[in-house]
Amino acid sequence: MYIYLPIAEISVNAFVLLGLGGMVGIMSGLFGVGGGFLMTPLLIFLGIPPAVSVATESNQIVASSVSGVLAHWRRGNVDFKMGGFLLAGGLIGSTLGVVIFSILQDIGQIDLMISLCYVVFLGTIGCLMFVEGVNTFISTKKGRIKRKPHPPRWIKAMPMKIRFRKSKLYISLFAPLAIGVFVGVLSALMGVGGGFIMVPAMIYLLGMPTSVVIGTSLFQIIFVTANATFFQSYLNQTVDVMLALLLLLGGVIGAQFGTRLGDKVNGEKMRILLAAIVLAVCGKLLFDLVIEPNNLYSIAGAK
């Protein structure tokens, strides 16, 4: 059954969208990631204009993050104070990101920027995850216990330290602000929640305990993606609510199955598998960038 998407202005098969949402949902339930970094490239591969893919994905992530954060909040796993600073930075960052997005769209380089960002970040994170996953796998086998990571010296040296009771940290407020801004910009440009950068940043740069990390990250993501959704709608009119709803539907059902599946499988092996998938998507995007395109010409949208 084909549905005409009002903002994307193309017809797509509704079942394909539901299936896509479901597949990414399963992955998010299984690995605890937002899935935006997989969904956005997949939407682009499907033929939906990149600008609409990015903006609509931000909208969909609001939904999945709300769903996720409620579960973590009930267990007391959200550090609202830290989350507040992260999201303050995130709001600044994502607004800035949407403005940069508009400028790039006008000069016709938005597709390139999106692809480059994805290649760089997916590549870096993918490699790091792979290495970390393999190391954990090896050290677990040998029975070694992992040391709790400490924030690097330059972060510890930042001024204006305050106490974050939930995370048991005494750290500069500029640290979460800066991380928030950085992730916010990327979030708006790439149509992701930013969790896959936020979570390692929280663990390794801030030294937050893992139990609080996911919930706090989701909390921040809700506001940052909501902000991006608002500005993408207001400035660029690129959010397709119909598309978001279809993806959402598949996503929440998929996440259910993913979570149940996740209880049954081995954690470390899954992390390595996720790293492999991330690297595969990165590889495809890189390939598309360097291979001579079939068609050197392309037409921009009508004015």
């Binding site: 993050s65 809700i222 959402l248």
Partner: protein, 244 residues
Amino acid sequence: MKKLFIFVLLFFATPVFASGITASLDSHTVAITIYFTGNEVLLFGAAEEAGDVIVLVQGPRETRTIRKKGRAFGVWYNSESMEFANVPGYYAISYSGDNLPSLSKGDLLRHEILPENLNIQPVNTKGQSPEVVESFRQALIEQLEQQNSIANNTNKLERLGDNLFRTSFFIPSNAPIGTYRTEVFLVSEGKIISAQATPLFVSKTGIEAHIYNFAYNYSAFYGVMAIFIAAIAGYIANEAMRKR
């Protein structure tokens, strides 16, 4: 002398187009609804005099930019571009047989018969040579043909008996909304002897039209609503998952 003068005047007077050809469409509106994947519009008519028939359909005119990829540091990106004005959002031509009935170049250009004769002009040549501008122009027309925005006799005209003719053209799902002009020309001995035009209206209707208008005219509200819907959906999803 007066009689000679009038005779000469009449000799040079432009011929009045008699109603030598008439045509109509099976439907004068194309409504883009939620299930729209494109629409085939049927055109039919009659030619009262002998001659060949050419059918033209043109959508609203737009300004389009064509981009060309180049390579830098191993990566392909959009390195050059040119903007063209007066580009039809949709263009279709239909005639019987493989060859267009012969017409003067002047007529072809005036009525924009055949995609190569479209009056597409660059907005700013950016100091590029005429050959480069022409290559961009050709590329633009080629791209439009590839995405089905230009149909160059893809559906040939059918002649039925002496007078009747019919053809159809496909309005794709990415066709622009607006008023389209359908023209039929009756051509004989290298000249257009009769013509008629009939309109076609392409518009969005139903819920997706409302969504589109809402997104563009009340953008801030739309943004807030999108967030709201997503948040509620997330909440409901969470509640549903809890019960299991």
